[in-house]
């Protein structure tokens, strides 16, 4: 377990500066002399000449004067001098350098045994051009809501070979899905410790335990390239955050890494270093492509930019929506069937005509209910004479375990109650969802309350026993199919820490695609039965709360969202699950 020395602000809340091109140039200036490294650089290239030819990409002619200075001619052009660093991963060499006076550089992986090469041509201040071109192609307006992102590294990947005068090799390095499903724990020579989860072929999920917290995982667009059956190239760009590039060689025989990080940190300072690390596999979960699909070719790079697309609303806008445009379960007409409730369970109606009191501990809410019929109830806080009417829906995700939800008072911010009633022991849990966070009005946040309920015919509640928070789900991955069809509306959840989860959207061929993460919370009601909540922070602000029964691999839950379209909504979630596997990460998170 690492000592917590990192800042409390999670990466998605850091207001990274929208630097000008001139500022980026200035910040990158020290990179001309090459990266630093705690471990010794390799001198394998010192005094040598290397000519690299790439398919459709640059031709690079290197003269290495020694172990830290090189001369490079690009495409036969004038030779220029630069500082560089190289690390040797059991014969596979990672070379890194920038081009002085520019915002460009190269990260090159060279396999002298096969002469095959992968070249990452890296640049900065390229987001605007790339985004404009993408927008033209997609016939949409370019997204510059959060600035021009000059700080975000851009990369082009070229596959090629070392030209030694003999015939060119026929093979090339290729993209791959051979790392998909794998989790790694890394400890680097610079004392940085992190968990990485490769659960998509387009994205990866990671936690820098020593710097940015062991609480919430972060997702980044990622490239996976196969060198051979045990050596791979992994690269990611922290696109919605600092924009930093990571390129590393992973050796699964030795369980080692050799890598480079290049970018500007949250203080806009250059971070350019190479590192060596040792790791261990935390797990290998299932993948869902058909056999024979090795993802050697892949479509265009895809980026999910939730910070760009999040619709930030003003106080007044949110207030208007939550007071004047609030709808629970389609005001009694039902909800969710066309969205995340395609597999919702049977509506429970047998509480109609009954009364109960849900009594939460430690000053939590005490709510009295009278269930008018199958869809409407009356509620009031204990001690308050004023009954309020509300739409509700109730489900039974485990035997004699009921879960229902309704809106609370029409006030700003506005809340809803999601109530679990355990008819086997009289325990109750309420997740109160409320609009607004300290960052955005139209995000939501949950508050968990544990307690009991009292109802005629229900068991006498226990004095001490309660539902409670749990880490049992940490490391688990489940697919969730929300609607019929293939792939239909289907994702995979990865519950990587006790306070986060991420979701992966499957591509049509079954491979993992876009991925994002959010804070998450997990409570246990029974063996194999959990209430899990997440908030899509800086994404669309939705609170999702599901009561998950692992015995039947099904859930019942509710979504709580406020936006310009649809106002404030409380709707049903119902999906079918498959177990994808488990990562053994608890010891790295200090949980065991």
């Amino acid at each position: 377990m690492v000592t917590r020395t990192y800042r409390s602000l999670q990466m998605h809340r850091i207001p990274y500066t929208d630097l000008t091109e001139a500022q980026v140039t200035q910040a990158l200036r020290p990179a001309a002399s090459g990266p630093s490294s705690k471990s010794a650089f390799s001198d394998v290239f010192a005094g040598k000449h290397l000519k690299i030819v790439t398919t459709d990409g640059p031709r690079l002619d290197y003269n290495f004067r020694n172990s830290h200075e090189l001369e490079l001619s690009e495409n036969g052009g004038k030779a220029l001098k630069a500082g560089y660093g190289a690390l040797d991963s059991r014969g596979l060499i990672l070379l890194s350098h920038m081009i002085p006076g520019s915002q460009r550089g190269y990260e090159v992986v060279i396999d002298p045994r096969t002469r095959l090469v992968t070249v990452f041509e890296v640049s900065f201040s390229g987001y605007a051009a790339a985004e404009t071109a993408a927008a033209v192609e997609a016939k949409r307006a370019p997204q510059f809501k959060n600035g021009h992102r000059n700080r975000e590294a851009q990369r082009k990947i070229w596959f090629g070979y070392v030209d030694d005068g003999s015939a060119a090799p026929a093979a090339r390095h290729t993209y791959t899905n051979r790392l998909e499903g794998k989790g790694m724990h890394w400890r680097q020579d610079n004392d940085i410790e992190l968990l990485e989860f490769y659960v998509s072929i387009l994205y990866s999920n990671f936690i820098e335990l020593t710097r940015f917290g062991g609480e919430m995982t972060i997702c980044a667009p990622t490239d996976y390239i196969m060198v051979n059956d045990h050596q791979f190239i992994y690269s990611r760009i922290e696109a919605e955050f600092s924009g930093t590039l990571t390129v590393q060689i992973i050796d699964l025989f030795e369980m080692s890494q050799k890598g480079v990080r290049l970018g500007l940190n949250e203080k806009d300072e250059l971070e350019y270093y190479m590192y060596s690390g040792n790791g261990e596999t935390t797990g290998q979960i299932a993948t869902f492509e058909v056999f024979g699909n090795n993802a050697e070719t892949r479509g265009p790079r895809r980026l999910y930019r939730p910070l760009e697309t999040f619709e930030v609303m003003t106080d007044d806008e949110v207030k208007d929506q939550v007071l004047n445009h609030a709808h629970a379960f389609g005001d009694g007409h039902g909800s969710g069937a066309a969205g995340m409730g395609g597999y919702k369970g049977e509506l429970i109606t047998k509480f109609a005509g009954k009364s109960l009191t849900a009594r939460m501990d430690n000053g939590g809410p005490v709510i009295q209910y009278e269930f008018t019929d199958a869809k409407q109830l009356k509620w009031r806080y204990e001690g308050n004479s004023n009954w309020r009417d509300a739409w509700y829906e109730m489900y039974e995700p485990d035997e004699d375990l009921y879960f229902f939800a309704h809106l609370l008072d029409a006030e700003f911010p506005r809340s809803c109650a999601m109530v679990a009633l355990d008819m086997k022991n009289g325990l109750s849990t309420i997740v109160k969802g409320t609009t607004g966070t300290s960052f955005r009005n139209n995000e939501t946040h949950p508050t968990y309350y544990f307690g009991v309920f009292q109802m005629e015919g229900a068991p006498t509640p226990p004095q001490y026993l309660r539902h409670g928070m749990t880490d049992e789900m940490v490391g688990e991955a489940y697919t969730w199919n929300y609607s019929p069809g293939n792939p239909g509306l289907t994702s995979m959840h990865l519950y990587a820490t006790p306070s986060t989860y991420s979701w992966i959207i499957f591509q049509p061929d079954g491979s993992g695609g876009l991925q994002w993460s959010s804070p998450g919370w997990y409570s246990k009601l029974r063996d194999g039965v959990y209430i899990m909540a997440w908030v899509e922070e800086a994404c669309n602000g939705t609170l999702g709360v599901i009561l998950f029964n692992r015995k039947i691999m099904h859930d019942a839950g509710f979504g709580y969202h406020v936006g310009r379209q649809g106002g404030l909504s409380l709707s049903v979630i119902g999906a079918r699950a498959r177990h994808a596997g488990r990562f053994e990460v608890k010891k790295h998170l200090g949980l065991i």
């Binding site: 016939k139 509306l489 994002w516």
Partner: protein, 214 residues
Amino acid sequence: MTENKMNGTRRAFFVRGGAVLGAGVATAAAAGVLLPDAAPAVPDRLPQLQRELTSHQDRESIRQLHRAFTAAIENQTYEAAVELFEPHADLNLSGLSVQGQPAIRRLLITQYRQQQARVLHSAYRQGPLQQPDLIAIAADGAHATATFHCDVELSTPLPADSTLAQMARLQGQVAERHWEAGRFEARYVKTDGQWKMTALRFTSSPPSRPQLLP
């Protein structure tokens, strides 16, 4: 649409149509050579040959117009598709019916591009047992009708506006795709020497029933 798909589906479809037409023209020409004495003198045949040539050119123009429409739908260049219609044209794609170019524009550029329509045409292909196409040019040479048989790939957009659905759409995903056989029925008008559609309707064929044993 990939090049392979183009070769295997729409391109092959229209190449086949062109080949049939070419064979007919060649047969007529050959018959003329074999019956020199019975045939009218060349000057007398010029108007007829001119009409045949114009008719051939019109058919080919209409075929190209239809090919431009299907290509625009497959490539999602909806703005180009809109320009193939007359201002007051009718369009009905598998039950989604609109009248007039502004409404066609809304259907394609808004409902299709943003996946708001309940069902989308996403690709076309020629089936192995497809009936031949029919193109009829009116006597005035300015109006025409046509029937093009083909299979359509119908895509049902992902419902909901959840983050999940948004991300899936970014990957080009839909809730469901399937192929149906059917036909385009179209009407055309020639204005200033250019053919445009005044009506286009795609209707799926009823599913064929298995033959019963006697």
